[in-house]
């Protein structure tokens, strides 16, 4: 156990994706309930469908590079999920993968940079900013904290998700509620915390 070195290969990314698939599986109902309060009650089912497909694809075939694994995962999400989260999470992973290029391994600094490209893709596609009560409220602080290591990123992600509770939504479906969106955790911010947590757990487990 314990971190031995900070170089990540395709198998590491696969383990991350499988861990996320598991987390989504067990948290699906919770995510749907969050989405029920300020959205349309499908976020859990959406991600479950998406990450189940990702896991299946990665069990059937493991691409050679971490970048290729993420591009494959992103494509699966785009063509299986739909809704807002499909294109957004799909682009996040695909852009991260593309940024990794076709190197066989990436060190943590490279992965962090690639994730930044992924988050930039989410911003570009969805037009949201931190504070709009979206997944970005988890992803942006988590990435900033990632410089201090995975546990810090995880803590920042979890805090980021909870910090969406007092916010009024300005993007996505929850924005229709205006002030009534205040007082609820954003479902996408919650699922993003699962994604970062899965990454941190897999990293801790290498």
């Amino acid at each position: 156990m314990g971190k031995e070195r900070d170089v990540r290969d395709a198998e590491f990314i696969r383990r991350w994706m499988l861990a996320m698939a598991e987390a989504v599986e067990s948290e699906a109902k919770h995510l749907t309930d969050l989405d029920s309060a300020i959205g349309d009650a499908d976020h859990g089912a959406n991600l479950q469908r998406g990450f189940t497909a990702v896991a299946e694809a990665l069990r059937a075939e493991l691409p050679a590079t971490p970048g290729a694994v993420l591009v494959l995962a992103g494509r699966q999400l785009i063509s299986k999920v739909g809704g807002a989260s499909g294109p957004l999470y799909g682009s996040l992973l695909r852009a991260t993968g593309k940024a990794l290029g076709d190197a066989a391994e990436a060190d943590d600094a490279q992965l962090r940079e690639a994730l930044q490209a992924g988050v930039d893709a989410v911003v570009k596609l969805g037009g949201a900013q931190p504070g709009d009560k979206t997944m970005l409220d988890t992803l942006v602080p988590a990435l900033a904290a990632l410089a201090d290591g995975y546990p810090a990123a995880r803590a920042a992600a979890e805090k980021g998700a909870k910090d969406t509770i007092p916010l009024q939504a300005r993007k996505g479906r929850a924005s229709y509620l205006g002030e009534r969106s205040i007082g609820h955790e954003d479902p996408g911010a919650a699922s993003s915390a699962l994604l970062i947590t899965a990454l941190a757990e897999v990293a801790a487990d290498v």
Binding site: D40, D42, A45, N46, I78, A84, P87, R173, S175
Partner: protein, 328 residues
Amino acid sequence: MLINVPETVVADALRGIAAAHPELTVDVENRVVVRRDAPVTDKVGLISGGGSGHEPLHAGFVGPGMLDAACPGEVFTSPVPDQMARAAAAVDAGKGVLFIVKNYTGDVMNFDMAMELAEDEGVQVAKVLVNDDVAVTDSLYTAGRRGTGATLFVEKLAGAAAQEGAPLERVEAVARQVNEASRSFGVALSACSTPAKGSPTFDLPAGELELGIGIHGEPGRERRAMMTSREIADFAVDAVLEDLKPTMPVLLLVNGMGATPLLELYGFNAEVHRVLAERKVPVARSLVGNYVTSLDMAGCSVTLCQADEELLRLWDAPVGTPALRWGM
């Protein structure tokens, strides 16, 4: 719920649509519903789609004079790009296709991705956003107005233009004109239950109602003590008229959200006609029924569309779909 398991609800419905409507080609696996005679020679192809749970929208509007294809997503979840790309390939007759997209973040992103895919395949694609719901302010602080009842008007009127052989720019222009001339407002008397959640998406105590709801089971802008049909008509019509100041007769859609009995909806229609008469807005044509629904939500919405002579002509043109049919 009258289902097998939540996971198969959409596929089951598509099999049922195929069985009920031999005039449609239903690709259950890839979730595309197409006019059997597509691509129709020398006709612009009309494609719409969105989350399921709004039936008869959109598959019920596929047929001569309206849509060429519909792409149903999971319940309340926009379809994926592959569906629309596949539909585009199936209905393009060389004159291009028009995507009719309800303005939701997910729908917009997925249709945009589909546009790229279809254009990569050499299909000319135009896109029109439907955003008629006055309950949502179109501002920097929202995802913009939602697309609701006006979708029916856009699909019917642009569909009639396409059926007449109009080129893509013209069909797109009609769709855009109709959207701009249309506004809606909706009211919920109960929440709906999605198959995945299995229980109401929000708590609405008996004796209260939600004003300004959308079609995805989300709560509205405001909760109030129950109002009469008459009061609801006043409120909804005035909300629409605050935004749309019609200078000509309107097309009227009095739409049920799914679980409101037609008996009540007709009574509501009477009140809507009354208030429109009081506001001196003449009604040129009207349609009453469950057309743009939200599963088993009780409630209703009112959509008005200012219609010039040309739009009225397109409205009266023959249409032959499962849910809207006349003149054929």
